[in-house]
Symmetry: C3
Subunit: 323 residues, 3 copies
């Protein structure tokens, strides 16, 4: 079964949230609209809605990420769910059968939703393929494959600032090769119909078949790449994911691809600057840019709660009979 | 004071839950009945009841066990309690006085119920002996002594499948010597009046005085031991608990005591197969048995929530005046 | 901006809670009165009040302290807040900018209140200086500087037992030099107008300028120091904070400054004995004193919940508009 079918039910509604692949423009718009309805909640004095009351959400993190885990925890609590945080040392588990035992046991404890992060691509799909009726799987990052909730909060941030996607030129800059975020962003931007997606980076950090497989324009020179861009997305340098001598040094990376104030002037005057965080200041961008007027980086964090509330509430299933 | 008196109040009601020892058949039946009343809750859309609202439950785990801790956490949250998870490194505490300081301090913080797991036998009793009025202690496993909530969820599983306990032949197979689960199961089965309890294992893994002290039939040959059994309980091989060369190898254990499809045919045709989890597949049993029609292993996990809800709600005390 | 101004708003109300310094007698009395209103809550069957419902409280502990973290967690949950526990390894963060990024990101996730503990003095002030409108900072201990919630629960304990502060002679005994607790206690006692504050300890563990800067009487002999005292506060020996050979041995410390039954007889007959916990029995005091009639050490723990509820509810801000 393809990922597309796996995450949609017979009525074309989301049952899991695994990847942008297989979701239509209408699906993505519905996620953005739902998140918008949750947005004002954060400014109300009582931030709770009862949508997931009585539901148990397990944050199943085989790969540590305090930031992503915390946003999911806050999102689930604002929906009145009970939240279990389970940080699982991957070294203690072996692939396949053991993952399946973990799923089966937590299902037996009547956990309703699983937010899964794992260093191997395809783990969330594996869980979704084996989940019982009534159980939903959310992909919170799997290997170098996908990080679709991050991509959706980025889309939400763009829409809040730019309104219409169709005229936009979006430049994604940095280590495309190792970035599950970039992969999900490119799919989402194309699905939402932006005018142009550009990827900018050294040859060593761009997938060989980028152009063909992803429908993007490739630049190796940042100044060319950001000229007239409406949206600039800097990727985080995933130092721990790189093997071999793909990159000379952080200093050299900054020299060639770092976002400086002067380079930013080449973009559209009202261009916004994004970054999934946490920023390596002085590597991906200057501090003056990170904290500057065009930066929307903290808004991305904030919108991340609303997007995760939207995805949790949209994929929630009525719990089926279990033995 | 004996364990029996320690866990019952003057009206013969449960005040703590420390061990099966000292509880009557009526006590056990009342626990099973209460768990049954909570069972359907898991299938309702909102799984909460307000029984423990405003109560603070501390999971005080001196010995790590994500599974048991998680089931207690879920059970307490479904009863609307506030849950504190305190994983305490035993090396940092010394026996006796320091344990008492831990109890006294948490009592002073108005923690109402303590779920305690410790590698030393008698720790839960120690806490119960020193607990203030209004504070309840639940034993979640102490050394090689007892694991009574596990035993009760096993009894619940048996009753759901077999109804009446009296005609049953139950075979418990594996490392009886190191198993606090087995010890609690044998007591519960005898209290509930089953026809026959059999323990099956190598001489090195059976307590020397099993026969006399526990009122069971001892088998060293698995094929004899499971013949005509109605219930087969496989124990987990507690590798970390074994000292010395009691056991040649996992492979040899499986050869002599592992539950295979062909051996299972010797049991009653509608025998159920149980295991406290997590299974060492290929050691205690074949995967085809673990996942087969007669396996009720995941139901045990599921019933574990209802049993723990029952025990938490039944031992809850009105909070007395404290200084 | 001084600490005084930083923690008060234009109406002279508490906006953060950083140190005793800069708070008036009226501020301290109002905290004590508010805590008193929460005190009986712990004895009610349902211990919750909705004061912080929908608010998110982050326990941001850069320095581990299960006890202090647990009391804040319980206090926040009794006020119906959502609680995030974030234990952050200081080695992973660098000063200044990175702390600021942590604050900004959690603010963007709509965390409303931060309870901060850090090994460097001034960290809570740093957070308060940079916090957005609507966000409150509570100091749960910073370096050797201050631990003001501990001092306030000590004041509360004294008032519960003694009523009026003005006639009291209070002796603080032990390692004054390294104690943020002592620093906050001395300020609070002077603000509340006690008759006399005495500090008692070896020359090596008393700040050189104690007398002038803090307005206390200095004693190097415990027997002189506790004579006629109404309140005796023993400090915890902060072994891990001492550098160099300031102290010969725990044994010698006990010989010279340990609180024994016979020494206690020199104090006022109804003197109370306090300790912030956890006690090093046989170092700071004899067990017979720690558990004796005059000891109010466990009451301090208990009052700690009420004091923290008071401070959380008093500093809570209406959440402002955020981007």
């Amino acid at each position: 079964m393809s990922a597309a079918n796996l995450q949609l039910d017979d009525n074309n509604k989301m049952r899991h949230f695994l990847s942008i692949e297989g979701l239509s423009r209408e699906h993505l718009i519905r996620i953005l609209d739902t998140a918008e309805s949750f947005l004002n909640l954060s400014d109300r004095s009582v931030k709770k809605v009862p949508a997931l009351r009585g539901k148990a959400v397990a944050n199943l993190f085989f790969e540590n990420s305090t930031r992503t885990r915390t946003t999911f925890e806050l999102a689930a609590k604002r929906l009145s769910a009970d939240v279990l945080n389970l940080n699982i040392d991957t070294s203690a588990t072996t692939k396949g059968e053991s993952l399946l035992d973990t799923l089966r046991n937590l299902e037996a404890m009547h956990v309703d939703m699983f937010v899964i992060r794992h260093s191997e691509s395809g783990t969330a799909h594996f869980f979704a393929r084996h989940a019982q009726p009534g159980v939903s799987i959310i992909n919170a990052g799997d290997g170098q494959h996908a990080h679709p909730t991050q991509a959706m909060l980025d889309m939400f941030t763009i829409r809040q600032h730019k309104g219409d996607f169709t005229p936009l030129k979006v430049a994604i800059i940095g280590d495309i090769l190792h970035s599950r975020v970039a992969r999900s962003q490119i799919l989402a931007l194309n699905t939402l119909g932006v005018s142009e997606v550009r990827v900018v980076g050294p040859k060593t950090l761009l997938p060989i078949d980028t152009r063909e497989s992803l429908g993007v324009h490739v630049f190796h020179d940042i100044e060319e790449g950001i000229t007239d861009a409406d949206v600039i997305i800097m990727l985080r340098l995933q130092k721990e994911r790189m093997t071999g001598a793909l990159l000379p040094s952080e200093h050299e990376f900054f020299q060639r691809y770092g976002l400086t104030e002067s380079r930013l002037k080449l973009a559209s005057p009202d261009a916004i600057v994004m970054h999934p965080g946490p920023i390596n200041r002085g590597v991906e961008m200057e501090t003056v840019v990170a904290d500057g007027k065009q930066s929307v980086i903290l808004q991305q964090v904030s919108y991340g709660i609303a997007i995760r509330m939207a995805i949790l509430s949209m994929t929630m299933q009525p719990r089926g009979e279990t033995s």
